[in-house]
Amino acid sequence: MSEDPEFDAEVEAHLDLLTRRYVDQGMSEEAARLAARRQFGNLTLLREERYRFRALPAVESMWQDLRYAARSCRRNPGFTAAVALTLALGIGANTAIFTICNAILLRPLPYRDPDRLVMLWERPLGSAESYAVAPANFLDWRAQTHSFDGVVAINPFPTFVLRGTGSAGLLNGAAVSSDFFAVLGTTLAMGRSFLPEEERPGANRVAILTHGVWETRFGRRRDILGAAITLNDIPHTIVGVLPPDFEFVGRSADFQSRTQFDVWVPTAFNTNPSRGTHPLRVFARLKPGVTLDEARADLDVVGANLARTYPEENKDRGIAAVPLFQQVTRDVRPALLTLLATVGFVLLIACGNVANLLLSRGAARQRELSVRVAIGAGLGRVAQQLLVESTLLAFLGGALGLAVAMAAISLAAPYLPVDVSRATGIGIDLRVMSFTTVVSLTTGLLFGLAPLLQARRVNPGDTLAAGIRVASSLPTRLRSSLVLGQIAMTLVLSIGATLMVRSFWTLLHVPTGFSADQVLTARITLPRSRYPNADRIAALHRDVLDRLRAAPGVQAAGMAAYLPFSGDDNGWAFFIEGRPPLPVGVYNVVKYRPITDGYFEALDVPLIRGRGFDTSDTGNAMPTVVINQSMARAYWGEENPLGQRLRFGGGIWMTTWRTIVGVVGDVRHEGLDRDLTPEMYVPFAQAPQPEGAATLVIRTALDATAMAGVARGVVAESDPSVPVDRLATMDQLVSSSVGTPRFQTIVFAALALLALTMASIGIYGVTSYTVAQRTREFGIYLALGASRGTVLRRVLGQSMPVIAVGLAAGVLASFALTRLITKLLYGVTPLDPVTFVTVPLLLFGVACLATYLPARRATTIDPIVALRVD
């Protein structure tokens, strides 16, 4: 009986030594051995005592349970696979979503003390809107506030044509105030940052390269410091290179999608900086010990002072301070948190299924447990064994889930929306691993509880007696409530997902006001040194357009300074001839769009009245303007605006009166979910300010992408020094503008589908189990002459109330919960009646099917066979 060779050896050695002693005293070998035994005492008692001590240590019994659990997993590969797979999907989905949340919402911003950084905005008093900042206002903020260790500005708009040093091409530039990098806390990899005196015009001919550009464009040249490069035909000296891990973090909506920069230059402020243009984005670092509220009070004082001093520009304007992290994550945070909650529901549903599986197996194991309890295992001991088993399964699922998550992330990575600007850091790190471990552990305890409730009811006498299987009512009730919960949660997810899909569908079908099919776009950037004035620019435009229109396959061609869906935009103030002057500080501002002839035709923007632009609208011709319907309605109502004149605000152009010659249809510019806004179009050649960059818009008879070569060729023929970039079809631009809602919708739909599948499997499994358990009962019914219909009704009669109550609970929960995704919806109310009627019906259908399939089996029972069961 002894399985303790170590102890036996120890005792044996002791006995030998005692025996030896007696032999030495003159005893015979046999007598000595007997004497030794006597002196040693009761060995059996000792062994029993020893066994008691050995059985006690928890670690040891845990190890025993673990081995037992591993064995039983290996013995039931089907069961183990089902559980592990279900958990892998549940935990994997959670890990994947958490990984994204971790990268965007938990990872600190890559700057020194990022919590102290804020963004400052101009804000109309009492409004939630915020505007970029005028240079003059920025300078005053910097000089007059006391709460900050530095107030810095960045202008994200410069685009540089790089020439010399071998390669030519376009660089995305940023113009920043001199202490920009110091305030962020970035130390340069090489060289120095900008100096305060380099903020003066003329002195700002210095540049800092990002690490990437230094590597790709300058071949990691060690002697780069002091080297000269030509940016827009102006020589600059390179004074520094940024470290490789520098990352500019900005919400893409705040920067008109310009958050990737190649080269940095100092922003120059002349002696009379503008207070009317707003190109700057402003960052500031709170002084140690200064709270955000104190800083806001400081800003209120400065803002009020500026509003008094410069009422024309700053009347009723204040200064808003938003923590940088909050500003950066503003768009994605609600969506990510919703996804995290959603995926948590999916895990709960998965737990429900696993609990059900364990319960089914628990029924079969009832005898095993009974035997254990009968021979004296305490309930705690049985509980430990069950929990060890479920935890083992959970970790198995967790490990697989990690693999699932990694696969899902690498699959989804290319489709992540661009405005998840910090998506570069998405990956499995320590925090993700801990998350998965904790989730696995919790999951194991959660579904391990179910069989525990069952085990508590084990009565050895009942289950061991005569092998009769007693269908305990507790598991059935427990299983029913699990299924009920699963149905309710699945309904909530399905309703949420359906709302998202309907919202996305609505968004996709918002009329844009133009036709995006078969339209290619490409940006050309004219260096100012060679194209200093409107005439030179117009001449190149004329040449390029003529060549394009002559190219085969081109149906129409035009150009725009600010193309819809490109992220580029601008607005301008104007005055209408003959109207009374507006109060100080109040302006009519509408969107302003320099375009060439052929633009309306190329985008198929409908002409409502009058005419569009044609080749006669040159710089010398009568100044003209075309407005859209929204502008006509806003400023002329029912009147005919044609022939009316207006002039632009600001500077020398105030004297030029422009005649309205046409009205065109409204066009969505910033995005499908944005409102239509008043717009005015002017001929490029008559633009109040020369625009160096323009986007070609080419309508083709064939595949638009096939025209890319033609577009490049035509521009090269006109002027080979003009770079062409941002080639994209209009369809692509529109499509990428809805990247975020598309991503959300796909993920939501996928999760809902996963939930639906799991819930269906759950219902199917429970019904199958019930049918299997009641085989004998149904056999008796059938033997006694019950019709198959009656049996079917009995099975369905058991499931239907569960399904009905689950659906009712789900509808009620959805009423409460869909409100939370209001922000993510477009054109659909969170209580959309269509969704709230169809989805429960659909789910009801699926649930019925999942019940009916196994229920039908009950009707095919052969009474003779059924009665022989056991």
Binding site: E10, V11, G41, E49, R50, P57
Partner: protein, 119 residues
């Protein structure tokens, strides 16, 4: 347990445990046979015990974490299990010794009382 009635066997068990701890502290690592010999020698046959109870005591002490054990070659080059006292065991020994001395002092005083002495 210590606060309730102390049975005879508990006294013996406790005494044996204390003796083993003290022996291990004084002489260093010992195997079961050696401990039995030492106790036999010290008690000069006053305390005659079944040597198996040494092992019960060792199990108890090891379970408490007061001693550890390790297989090592013994004097006659056979392998034997050697027990040694742990840091925790040393603390326990200190506590027990103190308690024992207090107790034996009390008992000694009680037993040395003579009739009429209290007046």
């Amino acid at each position: 347990m210590s606060k309730g009635a102390i049975t005879k066997s508990e006294v013996l068990q406790g005494t044996l445990d204390l003796m083993i701890l003290k022996t291990l502290q004084a002489l260093g690592p010992q195997h079961g046979f050696g401990l039995a010999r030492r106790i036999e020698q010290v008690s000069q046959d006053i305390l005659r015990l079944n040597e198996g109870t040494v092992y019960t005591s060792l199990m108890r002490l090891q379970h408490q974490g007061w001693i550890t054990s390790e297989w090592a070659p013994s004097e006659n080059n056979r392998k034997a299990k050697f027990y040694s006292i742990t840091r925790k065991g040393l603390k326990q020994l200190e506590r027990e010794t103190e308690a024992w001395e207090r107790m034996s002092g009390v008992i000694g005083r009680i037993l040395s009382l003579q009739a009429g002495q209290e007046t």
